[in-house]
Symmetry: C2
Subunit: 331 residues, 2 copies
C-alpha cells in the first residue's frame, strides 16, 4: 500500500524509521463571536445568528524525546499549513522532520484560510441585495503562471532557472495546495498576529517560523508582546520591519532571515531582501542579533522561494536546526 501517487513513489528517499509521538492533536487560538444577518442566501440555512471568526487552527505533534524548543510553522500567500507537510514529490515535510529531531511542531492555518473559517456574510449581503457589488471582499486565487514567477522557478512562466531545486516534475501537486487568499479583506494587523501572540504565550517559548506573506507577522507579534517568542526565523519574508521602526521589540530576540537562490534575478524579491538587510543592520546597531543568510552563501545552490519543498529541503532543514542550536537559548 502506497500513500503517495504511484508515479511519485520512485522519487521518495529511503523510508524513514518509525517516529514516537508523545502527544498530538489540534486546537484553535484567538477567535471571537459576531452576529450576522447574512449567513446564508438560501432557504436551507437560516440567515441570522452568531458565528465565530478570526480563530487560527493549530495542528501539533510533540515527540517522545524533546531536545529543542517548539517550532511554530506559519505558511504564506495562497497556501495553507499543507506547505510544511509532505512535499509535492512525496518526500518528508519539515513538520515531520523537526518532530523527528526533537521539536514539538505547531502548524497553523492563517485566519480566513484552510481550517480557519472565513466569514461569507459580505458575499451573501450582495447576493440578497442588501449591499452593492463593490462591497464584496477581495479574494485572490493566484494562478500557476503568476505563482511560477513569485515562487522563483524561473524569470517568467514557463522558463526555469538553471539548477533549480524545486521538483517541477511534481508541480501539479503543488498547484493543488493553492487556495483563495482573503488577506486583502482582513484588518491590519491580520488576525493571525494576535493569535500567534496567544499561541507563543501558551507555549511559553516557541520559534516562530514564517514564510513569504506571513514574514511580517512574527515581527508584528513581537511588537505586540515579546512574551513567548524564543526566536524568529523568516523564510523569504515578503517584508521585514522598516529600518526606522522602533527596534526595542526585536533586540532581545535571535532573528534569522533566510533566502534561497536567484534573488538578484528577481525584481519582486531583490528589494525585499534589501529591506531585510537594512532591518538587520538597524537591529544589530541597536544591540540585536539578526542575521540575513542567502543559501548560496552557506553552500546550497538552486533554491526557489518554496525552499521547504525543494529537492534539498531536508538539508536546508538540518542547517536550520544547527542555526537554532547555536543561536536560540532554551528556556
Amino acid at each position: 500500500m502506497s500513500a503517495v501517487a504511484p508515479a511519485l513513489a520512485q522519487e521518495r528517499t529511503a523510508k524513514p524509521q518509525p517516529v514516537s509521538i508523545a502527544e498530538q492533536g489540534s486546537f484553535f487560538v484567538g477567535g471571537h463571536e459576531v452576529h450576522s444577518d447574512t449567513l446564508s442566501s438560501t432557504a436551507t440555512r437560516k440567515p441570522s445568528g452568531t458565528v465565530t471568526v478570526d480563530q487560527v487552527y493549530v495542528h501539533y505533534q510533540i515527540p517522545s524525546t524533546v531536545t529543542g524548543l517548539p517550532i511554530t510553522l506559519i505558511h504564506g500567500c495562497c497556501l495553507t499549513g499543507k506547505t510544511w507537510e509532505t512535499t509535492p514529490d512525496g518526500r518528508m515535510g519539515w513538520d515531520d522532520y523537526f518532530v523527528r529531531h526533537g521539536h514539538g511542531v505547531y502548524v497553523i492555518d492563517q485566519a480566513s484560510r484552510g481550517r480557519s473559517a472565513s466569514d461569507p456574510s459580505a458575499i451573501n449581503a450582495v447576493k440578497v441585495g442588501k449591499a452593492a457589488a463593490d462591497q464584496l471582499p477581495s479574494i485572490s486565487f493566484t494562478s500557476h503562471e503568476e505563482a511560477w514567477q513569485v515562487f522563483r522557478f524561473g524569470p517568467e512562466y514557463p522558463k526555469v532557472f538553471a539548477g533549480l531545486q524545486f521538483p517541477l516534475e511534481a508541480q501539479t501537486e503543488l498547484w493543488k495546495q493553492m487556495v483563495p487568499d482573503w488577506v486583502e479583506a482582513l484588518p491590519t494587523p491580520n488576525p493571525t498576529v494576535p493569535a500567534l501572540s496567544g499561541l507563543a504565550q501558551r507555549l511559553n517559548g516557541t520559534i516562530l517560523m514564517s514564510h513569504s506573506q506571513s514574514g511580517i507577522y512574527p515581527f508584528q507579534t513581537a511588537a505586540m508582546s515579546t512574551s513567548g517568542i524564543a526566536a524568529i526565523v523568516a523564510i523569504e519574508p515578503a517584508a521585514c520591519p522598516t529600518a526606522n521602526a522602533d527596534m526595542k521589540p526585536y533586540v532581545g530576540i535571535p532573528i534569522l532571515v533566510l533566502f534561497g537562490d536567484f534573488v538578484d534575478q528577481s525584481p519582486r524579491w531583490k528589494p525585499r531582501l534589501q529591506m531585510c538587510q537594512e532591518f538587520s543592520a538597524a537591529t544589530n546597531k541597536a544591540g540585536g542579533h539578526t542575521q540575513v543568510v542567502l543559501l548560496p552563501d552557506v553552500g546550497f545552490h538552486g533554491n526557489s522561494h518554496m525552499l521547504m519543498q525543494d529537492k534539498n529541503s531536508l538539508e536546508v532543514a538540518a542547517w536550520l536546526l544547527s542555526w537554532m542550536e547555536k543561536n536560540v537559548r532554551r528556556n
Copy 2:
C-alpha cells in the same frame, strides 16, 4: 507545557502512552485545471490564468503495527477534518485513537472546504461587473443557534437534552471548528465523491467513515465503483440511498449506519433514520449486509449528532472497532 487551553486541562483523561508512527504526511486526490479571467479583483494579483480545483486534501498516519484496514474519515456539513481530531474539551480524537489501535487513518477535507481549495472566480466576476449579483455562489455559514438543533444538543437553542454527552462547557471550541459551506455551489455528485473513489482504489481497501452531510458520499462512491471500498460506516448520515435504488453496488459491502440518542425527538433526524432503515431492509432483502444501530440500543445513552466529540467518544470508537473486527473482511 500544555497544548490545550489551561481551563480545559482538567477535563482531559489520563495522558496516553506515546504512539509509534511508521509513516505520516498528506497528499491530494482528484483535482483538475481550469482557466479563469476573474481570479482577482485587485491590482495585486493577475486576474487571468490557470488554477486547480476540486482536489481533496488527505492527511494520513500509518502506525508501526498495523492490525486493521485503513479508515478514511469524512467530515460533515460546515466543518472540516478537524471534526475527528482533539475534541473541544481537549480529549483524544478518533483519528489518534484509531491509529493507536492499529489502523492507518486518512482524514480528508471535502472539496471546496478547509485545505481543499474553493474557486472565488464567480465572486470576483460580480465584483468587477462581469456578472450579476444573483450569480454569486451560495455559501452558508451555520450559526451556533442553528447548529445547536442540527447537532441535537437539545430540541432548540439553548435547551439541553437530559443526559446529553456533548461537552457543552467547551462549546466555544466547537464553534471555532465551523467554516463556510460551499456545497450548494458545487455539482452533484460533489467532487469529493470521485476523489473518494480515487483514494479507495489507491488504498486498495479502506473503510469509508462518513458523518452527517457526507453520509451519502460513500454510497455514491460505491455506485461509481466498489473498488477499494472494504466497508461503509455512516455516522448519523443526512441521507441513505432510497429503498428503490439499484442495490447492486451495496450488497457486497458491509455497511453500518450509526445514530446517537434523542433521534425520535428530532424532526430533522427522525425521518433520516427512517430512510436509512428502509435502505437497510432493501439491501438485506437483496442479499446485503447492512445494520442500522442506535447507540442507546447497545448501551450508550445521551449521544448527540457530534458523537465523535461526546464525552464517551472513545467508548463509542471502541464499539466501532469491535464492529469492524466482526464484520469487515481484511484483504
